[in-house]
């Protein structure tokens, strides 16, 4: 049976991709990883999630970090909830305040950044064209975790003596002339100049109108992975309570619970709440209609 899929446009790939649903059981594992708070493990988890949920495209691991971020936020929006409820601290008064962010706004922003083509990718030629290298946005969600290893993630295409040898990238990168490092640095500098001004969150404080709570789109810090953690974090115990409630009160089978999305489980809970409200209403009205009722 063909699974339900939804789609999202990726500006880096310049195409629309199909995404499968995030099942509750997988989400629970993600929440466990986030609770454990090891960034390397969390990044690996997100990468495997992308590989599995976008399996129609085998190249998803080479997608830019921006495309990956758009996919993950879309998964969050469709399979969990379209809004993000957060608490911020006013930079001036230090007072806490609650706010809600619509994920569609962030996704729209990332899809329409209007970045110049040179930020999405650039082509460099060496030895009179014997070696042509296409550099593009890094495909990892956080640069600092891999140090010099991150260099490999900006190579998008390698053409040697007219032949595309990109598939052997992992084996041949170390043998490329060191001069490519200078071009990588220049590309990353340009890339960072454009990216540094973009903010994932930019919320005005209700306590000081000229102050904002911000989260930059900075690949060279923890900001992207931190933002993703915020998006997918949930109290782990509440997930067990939810499972307990769904099995014991709603008599849902565990198979059903693990296969549907967290958003669908919310629908069941809302239906249950609605049913209870109706029952309560009916009970109250039957009391009112009974003249013998004291």
């Amino acid at each position: 049976m063909r699974q339900f899929v939804y789609t999202v446009y990726l500006p880096g790939q310049k195409k629309t991709v199909q995404i499968k649903e995030l099942q509750f059981s997988r989400y629970k594992h993600l929440v466990k990883s986030i609770t454990n708070d090891n960034d390397n493990v969390i990044i690996d988890f997100f990468d495997s999630l992308l590989a599995d949920l976008c399996s129609v495209d085998n190249d998803v691991k080479t997608y830019s970090f921006l495309d990956k971020l758009i996919i993950l936020l879309t998964i969050r929006l469709v399979c969990i909830s379209p809004e993000l409820e957060l608490t911020g601290t006013c930079p001036e008064t230090k007072n806490n305040f609650n706010f809600t962010v619509k994920l569609t706004d962030i996704i729209d922003k990332l899809q329409t950044l209007q970045l110049p083509d040179e930020v999405y990718g650039t082509t460099k030629t060496f030895n009179n064209g014997d070696l042509v290298i296409e550099l593009g946005m890094p495909s990892i969600l956080q640069m600092s975790t891999v140090e010099l290893g991150m260099l490999n993630t900006v190579f998008k295409k390698i053409i040697l003596n007219g032949t595309d040898v990109t598939k052997t990238r992992e084996q041949i990168i170390d043998h490329l002339p060191a001069v490519v490092l200078r071009d990588i640095k220049n590309y990353l500098t340009t890339f960072n100049e454009y990216m540094s001004g973009i903010k994932l969150l930019d919320i005005r404080s209700p306590f000081a109108s000229n102050k904002t709570v911000e989260m930059p789109l900075n690949l060279f810090s923890n900001s992207i992975i931190d933002f993703l953690k915020i998006c997918f974090r949930r109290n782990l115990l509440s997930l067990y309570e939810l499972e307990y409630f769904l099995i014991n009160r709603l008599n849902l089978s565990y198979e059903l619970i693990r296969e549907v999305t967290p958003a669908e489980l919310n629908i069941y809970i809302n239906l249950f709440k609605e049913e209870k409200r109706e029952e309560e209403k009916a009970r109250k009205s039957s009391k009112t209609l009974n003249p013998l009722q004291p």
């Binding site: 070696l131 990168i173 043998h175 002339p177 001069v179 640095k185």
Partner: protein, 249 residues
């Protein structure tokens, strides 16, 4: 590794050779062709700054390997001098990465190196003290590498915080590099000990027994040699520090 990848690596090897650079070797008084650095070599050099911030020994041993790997024309790298290493490093940096480093035009420095005369008295000297003759010689890259490897092995067991021990070991190892032979006067005549025939531990044991007057004269020789060596990395009184940071971009 598939045949396909092997073929691609061969093509890259040819490409690196074709884009090679002629490097003037001061001790040979001629140019030798070298392949440019590849990405792995550059990454290794950059990583060496993390390995040892105090001693720079990893950098020099890694760069010695690069000299051996990248020479296209035949040379005996172990017979080259430290001034040759400077010339090679500057030429590879200029051709492969950028000819400008800290506002210094490295091509101007390369031109200067080619016209810097080598006075043989700076490369060799003899000191006589209390019946002890020490023949001194500017270390070859082979000697430099051997002693550096021994130093790295020794310092591996010394805590990073124990700077005193680190400096002490570096000091004696540095002196050992410059001693070619030691001649003692004995009752039967003279005994000549050629350092090349000794293990590093024995070289150090003898060096540590030398009287301070002899050590001071050795240090004078090293000092003079270092001043000469600096000519190969200094342009208009601005010195270039040839270490791992020199290869950052």
């Amino acid at each position: 590794m598939s045949e396909n990848v092997t073929d691609i690596l061969k093509q890259l090897e040819k490409l690196n050779e074709a884009s090679g650079v002629n490097v003037y070797i001061p001790s040979l008084k001629k140019a030798v062709r070298f392949k440019n650095l590849n990405l792995k070599q550059q990454k290794d050099l950059l990583k060496s700054s993390i390995d040892d911030t105090l001693t720079r020994l990893s950098f020099t041993t890694k760069f010695f390997s690069i000299i051996k790997e990248n020479a296209i024309d035949y040379i005996d790298a172990s017979k080259l001098l430290i001034i040759d290493r400077l010339s090679i490093a500057i030429a590879l940096r200029s051709a492969g990465l950028s000819s400008v480093y800290n506002s210094i035009n490295l091509n101007d420095l390369i031109t200067q190196i080619q016209s810097t005369a080598i006075d043989s008295t700076i490369l060799k000297s003899t000191t006589d003290t209390q019946g002890l003759t020490v023949n001194l010689e500017a270390p070859t890259l082979g000697t430099d590498n051997d002693i550096n490897l021994a130093t790295i092995a020794k310092l591996k067991n010394v805590s990073d915080r124990d700077v005193k021990t680190q400096i002490g070991e570096l000091f004696v190892h540095e002196i050992v590099k410059f001693i070619h032979s030691v001649t003692f006067k004995t009752d039967d005549g003279e005994q000549n000990v050629v350092f090349a025939n000794l293990s590093t531990d024995n070289k150090i044991a003898i060096t540590e027994k030398l009287p301070s007057t002899a050590t001071n004269k050795i240090l004078d020789f090293i000092k003079t040699y270092r001043v000469f060596e600096n000519k190969f990395s200094t342009l208009n009184d601005v010195s270039v520090e040839v270490d791992s940071s020199f290869f950052s971009v």
